[in-house]
Symmetry: D2
Subunit: 352 residues, 4 copies
């Protein structure tokens, strides 16, 4: 039972590798009838790999974890873990839940057995946690159930309503050997830097706000998890490279391009817009489930025009790259390439 | 699949009986190891019946629905439905979920088959709903999957963060024949009265704030759902009787007693205090699960002293009544009476 | 200086009369150029008196106190105090401020000298107060500067962002002899009843939510302060009478009429709609100042149509009564009656 | 009257110089009796100048503007403007208000006449603004009343509750020639970068969160306004220098020192802690007014110990520098140096 998880801590503390690079939070592909489209995942995996993405945060907010059944989450975890299992270094980290700690534990053990790199939970978001001690206790319970698997806390106050300082959490989890770090999706840079600096950079602090990545890099962030890395990783790779080369002005331009892209999410109703970007590039992941609202067909046409307008040449190149990669993947996978020549032409015209 | 639920609406609209009286939101009894204590439920059921409670809102907030696994929710629903099935008029209404509409549908169908009176959902509380139209669509999806079972929307913005005017929801659900009404746990009396008056009192508006019951009665409320009806129903029955007899001053005193009782929830850390009240009266439902914090043993001693202080004679009488009922139930059930003579004596002394 | 106000408490505690009836929160009349229209106030005063209103809460939220200069607030206080001074029992209570305690003290002393019945402050709304002790200290500072004048705390969390339990404030102000009570503009009925019952009904608890008046009456409220009492006092007097006669169903209907009227505030942009109601009845108080948005001329036409639709016969009668009173007042005041026969006719037609 | 301010826009748009460097938001010095200690301001001015600070944001949040009377704000503005008038380039920018636009206009004109560099307003914080158009209209009204003086909007949602995207405001103020820019005290870096990039860096975007300065620098911020620049400007100058030299790791360390310093504000009750820092360094600005809570004497002792602990050598050097500057200033001003040798020794010991 959940309350009596036996903590089999390793004799010596785990040495957990920090993630360096971009982790995408993949969309959960769905069929027109709303069921999972698991067959798309190997292609999806290849696209992310080819784009230089280093991992996938599965069943997260972007992946609609809270809208999936327990069984569906198992299927998703299995499908992604199977892709990554073949010896390469692509890291699968599923979000387990959720408001029910027992189900988190059950899913954590399933995921660990399936061979994921790590697991993650958010704070429960129905009953509000009264103290950071309780939050640490929850982490201890779930992490303790899979002692050999890195555990990440997913900090996203805008959705959970739980907004403790994460430095306070870190101060309470030193006794959890597999507490790897935090996926930090919040704009409290003061807290974020404090966490980075805590105990000489012990914990892996993954930045979760794509639109502010540059402001996190300057604080020392090395890894990020986000939804736009699904379709615009090259843009962010450029941003990171420029920053590392000591060219902040150029990096600012890339960040602004990312912001312009992200503003369309606000304009078209939020998180579901991400799947519209994917569709535009040829990887149709279907629609978001309730309670998320999807674009109408008319909105999608308007959205396409907006995408054309926002695309500077540099941005279009990223798209093209992505499309080419996608076509290659599909070709390799012996599937029918889904991108018509017309779309390729449209983008090419914009570049030249 | 969820998106394509086939709506088998009745040819003519259902005539749904309004609930008149108090519905308790029972605690989920748990064993010391944190697992369900299902054996307690028949006794629990008898106590509520004997106290004049007319129904049970199972797996709600009080019942820790969001902290239970899907399987545990099925077990709870079954256990309560079995109690009520024997021909009497006690109404079982489970809260289904939750953030995952698919699981709500699955559980709704299970509950309907188990013979519950009705089912209920809250708004999803992870992704925030953008419009009341979407909320109506969610209700349509779940209600449509169990077309012969009354469906209640559970409005509790303090926990879900979803705070639409319920009159706007009612205006959008006229096409759902089994939309019975709303469990209204919010202090917007303007909206509540508007809902009561909508279409000549068509919908069953169940008041969900025990501490304000009197202010709802004067607006025309006939039924209430609450956690303190588990252990203090006689107090509220007195309140209702006095109000109906045109004695508002006396009813105010009863309401103040209820408030004094409820303030101890605030003092001792919130929702878990309810199980402490139950324990005090002899029905030990165990502890709340994470993320809710339970009282320490020392706090429980202090809590007991506070209960003694708050108890006016009238209040103690309610407790005594409850204790006697409990003992009777247990005696009939051939279990060992769990209440020592000492406790009975303590309360009796306070009355005389 | 503010910090060192010398407390000249009366030897024995003041006996402060509780207000019984409706206190209007008058709009601040403005000329087309945005300056104060002080000449309207004697007429305004007569209208309120004739409608059975027992007092005026001047420079409150409705009166745009926070948008007036210090000098303008002095002028308003003087104008109203002069009206009420002539020996009758109409109670003037100005809202002093504000974020600056020193200015509240200065204005309190000015108002007391001008002969007001009482004064009132809200919690400061820029810097957020850390504890209810600090709030009590602020009340002590301002009340202590006018020890012979009743002091009311104005609780309106939706605008100040300060949301302590008022029962906690009362427990800390027993040492302030002229702390009269609280203008309670919030939906926490549990707290409100606790305040009513505190020390055997010592404090004057004035209900501040017109749309929920009935739910406060049943708890024992005797007085209310509100904006709709400016133009619909007869409706609320009916409501109170019906409630006192033990006719809750009829009182509910009156409350619903008040709600329907108040909903138009939401539809037409909020607080400024109140001045549109006044204009419709013939007392043109001009426009609201920035930052409040006024209706456009087109919106006003639409608003007028909505008012016609919402008016049940009973409601129209209130309007007519008000209009007749207004005309009488103006006639007595030897001003030109501003209501054309046409408007009177329109309303009369609706009744007959 | 406010509504009819005549807009005397310059024929050609003003060319407004962007501020480069740190602007302190000075505390308002107060005597033990709570009245203004205006005599301290020339010394205060010299200290800021000597520390390389380029301006003062007078009567802001740090300066308790909302707790000052109108007259006191005039006195403060005059005192600071007089210091800066003598031909140097130190920029005085007062915060005008407040909730009353008329008073803002009056004070703006007074300040402009007194010779300030610019003026600033926040959004009104009692009535909540309904749209960004209304906010622009307010800016137009105030800026239009002082057409030759740069106008800054002060964005601080945590205190005003008004949280529009500032890029939306900029899009609506192109017709205000003296709209200089925004003091941006919020963590929305996406919005901040968008504002920086708007119309080729037209507007002066002053960063208002000292604890996140580094994350703003990387986006292109050149100026900042803050409270800790009163007592720790050298630390931030180091941070800026290191960042400009392409040494982000070293800059991160400086930012962390700033954070450690700022955390003590949280520990000791907030904004009033700033005056404790000032006192510790020898410039006693007295206490904060109500509603802000000051440290007790015991807390101040504990605070001093915490300051000793947080001071890395580098940090202590800043303090020493500041103290030396202060002593010099006071010596030049022929006042008695207020720093005992003991304090100097204590800090020196920590460095060596």
């Amino acid at each position: 039972m959940l309350i009596f998880v036996e903590y089999k801590w390793n004799a010596s503390y785990m040495k957990i590798e920090h993630i360096n690079g971009l982790v995408a939070a993949p969309f959960t592909p769905m069929k027109p009838d709303g069921s999972l489209n698991l067959e798309l995942i190997p292609t999806y995996y290849q696209i992310l790999k080819s784009a230089g993405v280093v991992g996938a945060f599965v069943c997260g907010s972007t992946g609609e974890g809270p809208s999936l059944t327990f069984k569906e989450k198992m299927l998703m975890i299995k499908a992604w873990a199977d892709c990554a299992k073949k010896g390469d270094d692509f890291k699968i980290i599923p979000l387990l839940g959720g408001t029910c700690i027992s189900e988190c534990v059950e899913l954590a053990q399933y995921a660990a057995a399936a061979g994921v790199h790590g697991v993650s939970i958010t704070a429960p978001y129905y009953f509000k946690i009264g103290s950071v001690d309780t939050l640490a206790e929850i982490c201890r319970t779930v992490a303790g159930s899979i002692p050999s698997t890195p555990f990440y806390y997913y900090h996203i106050p805008v959705l959970t309503g739980v907004d403790f300082q994460m430095i306070s959490l870190l101060e309470r989890v030193d006794d959890i050997p597999n507490f790897a770090g935090i996926k930090y999706t919040h704009e409290d840079f003061m807290d974020f830097l404090s966490c980075l600096n805590y105990k000489d950079n012990t914990y892996d602090m993954l930045w979760g706000r794509d639109e502010n990545l540059l402001s996190a890099l300057v604080l020392g962030a090395k890894g990020g998890v986000g939804s736009t890395y699904n379709y615009a990783a090259p843009l962010y790779h450029d941003l990171i490279t420029l920053y590392n080369q000591g060219k902040p002005e150029a990096a600012q331009k890339k960040q602004q391009q990312s912001i312009d892209m992200i503003r369309l999410l606000g304009k078209y109703g939020g998180i579901a817009t991400g799947k519209a970007y994917m569709k535009l590039m040829g990887l149709d992941c279907g629609e978001f489930r309730l309670p998320v609202k999807n674009m109408s067909a008319a909105q999608f046409e308007s959205f396409k025009r907006d995408v054309d307008h926002l695309t500077s040449k540099a941005f279009v190149r990223q798209f093209l790259l992505h499309i080419v990669l996608l076509n290659s993947c599909i070709a390799y996978g012996k599937q029918q390439p889904c991108l018509c020549a017309g779309k390729y032409k449209r983008f090419t015209a914009l570049v030249n």
